[in-house]
Symmetry: D2
Subunit: 364 residues, 4 copies
Amino acid sequence: MSSTFGTLFRVSTFGESHCPGVGAVVDGCPPNLALDAADIQRQLDRRRPGQSAMTTDRQEGDRVAILSGVENGRTLGTPIALLVPNRDQRPGDYAEMAQVPRPSHADYTYQMKYGIRAASGGGRSSARETIGRVAAGAIAEKILAERYGLEVVAWVSAVGEVSTEAVDMAAITRQAVDATPVRCPPTAAPAMAAAIQAARDAQDSLGGVVTCVCRNVPVGLGEPVFDKLEALLAHAMLSIPATKGFEIGSGFAGTRLRGSAHNDPFVQKGDRLGTLTNRSGGIQGGISNGEPIYFRVAFKPPATIGAAQATADFAGRAVTLAAKGRHDPCVVPRAVPIVEAMAALVLVDVVLRQAARCAGSLHP
Amino acid sequence: MSSTFGTLFRVSTFGESHCPGVGAVVDGCPPNLALDAADIQRQLDRRRPGQSAMTTDRQEGDRVAILSGVENGRTLGTPIALLVPNRDQRPGDYAEMAQVPRPSHADYTYQMKYGIRAASGGGRSSARETIGRVAAGAIAEKILAERYGLEVVAWVSAVGEVSTEAVDMAAITRQAVDATPVRCPPTAAPAMAAAIQAARDAQDSLGGVVTCVCRNVPVGLGEPVFDKLEALLAHAMLSIPATKGFEIGSGFAGTRLRGSAHNDPFVQKGDRLGTLTNRSGGIQGGISNGEPIYFRVAFKPPATIGAAQATADFAGRAVTLAAKGRHDPCVVPRAVPIVEAMAALVLVDVVLRQAARCAGSLHP
Amino acid sequence: MSSTFGTLFRVSTFGESHCPGVGAVVDGCPPNLALDAADIQRQLDRRRPGQSAMTTDRQEGDRVAILSGVENGRTLGTPIALLVPNRDQRPGDYAEMAQVPRPSHADYTYQMKYGIRAASGGGRSSARETIGRVAAGAIAEKILAERYGLEVVAWVSAVGEVSTEAVDMAAITRQAVDATPVRCPPTAAPAMAAAIQAARDAQDSLGGVVTCVCRNVPVGLGEPVFDKLEALLAHAMLSIPATKGFEIGSGFAGTRLRGSAHNDPFVQKGDRLGTLTNRSGGIQGGISNGEPIYFRVAFKPPATIGAAQATADFAGRAVTLAAKGRHDPCVVPRAVPIVEAMAALVLVDVVLRQAARCAGSLHP
Amino acid sequence: MSSTFGTLFRVSTFGESHCPGVGAVVDGCPPNLALDAADIQRQLDRRRPGQSAMTTDRQEGDRVAILSGVENGRTLGTPIALLVPNRDQRPGDYAEMAQVPRPSHADYTYQMKYGIRAASGGGRSSARETIGRVAAGAIAEKILAERYGLEVVAWVSAVGEVSTEAVDMAAITRQAVDATPVRCPPTAAPAMAAAIQAARDAQDSLGGVVTCVCRNVPVGLGEPVFDKLEALLAHAMLSIPATKGFEIGSGFAGTRLRGSAHNDPFVQKGDRLGTLTNRSGGIQGGISNGEPIYFRVAFKPPATIGAAQATADFAGRAVTLAAKGRHDPCVVPRAVPIVEAMAALVLVDVVLRQAARCAGSLHP
């Protein structure tokens, strides 16, 4: 298991669905940052189930406690431990799944890899694992915003067959994103909501796409060769459960263009060079170029569905499986803060790595 | 700069276009593996320019020397240093580019990040940097093939607007891939070749897509949470110069399906569980499930083109740039062994990490 | 701050003296290990203050809770989060120290490095930081004992000017060590106890030496060049608060011998080669040779003392400082389980790293 | 094998005694540092054998070539590959040792760990492995000297039973150290030289101690908890072949003092706090305090001696071994630049890690 992410801003997450709690330890947070639990809770609230009829309907909140690393509302520069208790520690609905691995879920692979697995099935593949990421990401975002004016905004750009119109990446805000429960720009929202409801009615599920933009990114972030900024972002995004693809800038569509049409010409912008277009997605040669960074992340439809599926049990016998309990028909709206968190974790780490190269002073 | 890749099988590459040489140090190769330079040269030959009219026409070869870690044709378990001398150490054609950063190239970002850059422009963003990867990947492939029967095959599945028909992933071989200079299954090859020639005639360039399959992968590879197998593959692929996207299994297209249509039902296959379909791309919950792993990688059109481009110089003055010298109009055929190399580097590392978990014996 | 230790068995500790709690997250524990809180509590009890008149007299216990990674008494292979709540969260006695950095303590350096520090002074330099290490080390010891029969025993070999007689390293047990409150073989114990009492009476403190032996270590552990086994042990030991030195095998005394007198001749021992003497301390060329590993760790006298000291405050003004409250006059007896924990963390990690090299099977 | 050292300034060394060459790749060197081969050759010349009758008498030099990362005498911020060719690639004198593992050498443990070993015996345990360290260390020293005015000086403080008088740590220079072939302050030099000659005459060997001081170290370096500065130094020093011990500041002798006698009182020194004494060795709580850092490293007598030794061969049969060829009776004088190199590698890395915490600007 590799539950640690980052080089200088290091996040270690822990926790399964039905143990006492889930959380994270953040090591490498700069000292003297104003921080309290509310800063973190805000993004956790955006992540949790039950925010609307769109998602699952458990209303209870996940409350974060800061266990260490902060005193009198200021970070100490020491590890920040974050804990969110699990409320339901009895894995009741999972008895059948103990015999039958859910298709396209992690039940089978966890069992084969570890020779044991949590009663709830896929262990750390549970969506609750992402709580630690979102909590840690909220700290990263605060550093980026306060010290560098850098901001990260993600939204749902597709649900199943329904896509959004073009979005103004320079202007879109979290407030605008949260204006609809599907977290997408208003025009497409009703069609997306209808698609999700239809899937729910059919005890089925739906995938989608999240798009993310990072604005005010300074030139020079990213560590070629192997830690190119887009490589770190791809790593971060594909580590989110249920993701199947990543595109930076022009992405797969860009492969169809000729170089003369794809290249981003330079122009003077204020006191620096900028580019006229941004098919590069804000990154050239693995290093940020000062333009907005934007990328898209593909989420498959959730594997656990109420509809009956023909499959096999662990012993190889043909069986029919229909998951009991309530299951989220579409995780994409809740994935928005997770994508933002992972983007922030990548960015804060490359900021610190670049800072190491540039520092004059050695005293904070 | 972060020129090291891997946790237990660690590759550190070095070298610019015009310094004495490029290469890699591989630390963590198991002892007692039969290895000689020819094992490595084979993939380097597939990577080098000038293999056909399709690519650039410099015919000289890049010859690898093994400097350490191998004695009497056997690895010692110690670091293996690999060196490929550069033949042309005079950065002649790059004088104009010293003043004008090439659009969508790394000239500008390297200069801004490091405050200095190699005479040839983007320094480590040069295609020659991938020589070290391919050399190291050849060692990784040998371990995978000899000890685990695992094989990796990649091919060109799209060039510009031209895509291949469906490919039989269970059967395709490197020999078949190399049957055409564009390294794609025969039916689409002529149209791809024509598209590349047209771009060359226009002093322009073309992007494309490489698809890769990994067969005979044992169940259980990959280290959730943050080092999920697809996350490591995405990281590896997006670290290759000129890549813009990554899809595993059903990818972006899979986001349009409902769960009932997307899930891969289990069936008994011989003495293990397999899946009837493989939209998961051989990975569930970040762990290989025993089915073939397949993924697609998007390559943008090369940034350096002979056609005139309106852009700005470092001082912000509007200029017209037309790159001198010969430039590869389409790198995708040559990217095939690079994709294979990076896939092999990821796989050998997760094999060793899983082995650490399972070992009975502690003696080789 | 770097609060993570290990490559494959990774421990991340957190917590200051007066925050809600201290603890650790262990990532990389093999699955299916029997584990409950009592396994961990045993070593925590040996570490905590107030075990005897020898140390401080606070009798309250530090109780560990396992927050994740264990289900039905078995490890899942997922991260194990461990938490010990702090009871006293009011840093009362530290008001004066806010103005005056304690001589030879970390108050000054923490303030200068981070520009802020915990109210209690040295923040993570507090002895409570070692709770996470001891908890994680108890898990490491269990793996080593159950899967490899390997055992680690440490004892106090010197307190101030009082040293023990020679100890039978092949026979000494933890039970024997714990027979006296100073944790040293019986003959020297009364003199050590008297020395500690005299220092306490003088409101002063005393240093000492801990010796540690690791038995049943298989041949082949350790990762040259830079992660030689003795280098990892030295790193681990010098990371314990208040340590000033490390010796493996013959140590500094061995530098006075000629090679002919220092070399350990080989002899056949059962089915393997062993050595007649063991000045190497069980390690040759950075790799364990199958003989017992033994080493010594120097602990300075605790910096915080009740006796008056002439020093300067943060503003550089000459002041007299006499620490209020109860302070441990000699930490060496309590350091015994910490040394054992760090030794176990090193050993379990090199076991896993060597296992990665040797594995046949990839399934647990 | 773990041949990489450092977090942000990362050194990967390679090479055995009889392969084409030995060397290192340095990743993380800041850009725009003036650097040429002569900067590196200087320390290599101090390391090589044959500098005097004191050591072995092979006069040939080891010449370093810079393969990458430097252009027009300036570092590019990219990996710097360094290569020193091996002159003698025929392991002639080692035939007998193929059957008989040298006592206290790494022949046996390498064979057991890897199941194979270099013809020359201990493979990477060869003294030639340290060439890569010294070459990389020379770059580290240059950064420290030019950007921070920091300097590192080591000397021989004991050879066998002969110790130096007290040395003025504030004043000692490399020039003074090199004034005698034993690299020790003049008064003790003749006795040390005589001791080494006597050991040589007896075909025997001698150990010794190297002391090292780091001056002008800024306050605030070191990364507690696990990467305390003294822990990193201990790790670095114990990774040098033949080392058996490490002491920082008062070391083992300090364990005999009471706290009141051991503590270093603060005093105002210019515009900062300093300490009146320096038993801490320049480090408190794992963080540099602005005073000189000093430490001692124990080197055992070399294992390979010409005198006859009763031992066993790999098959367990009793044999007599007398090493053929010329062997260095005392490596301590040549260890001086190696200790300096490892100290510099530790310091440059913690400087960069602290810089990451403090940076205002992100542009070099």
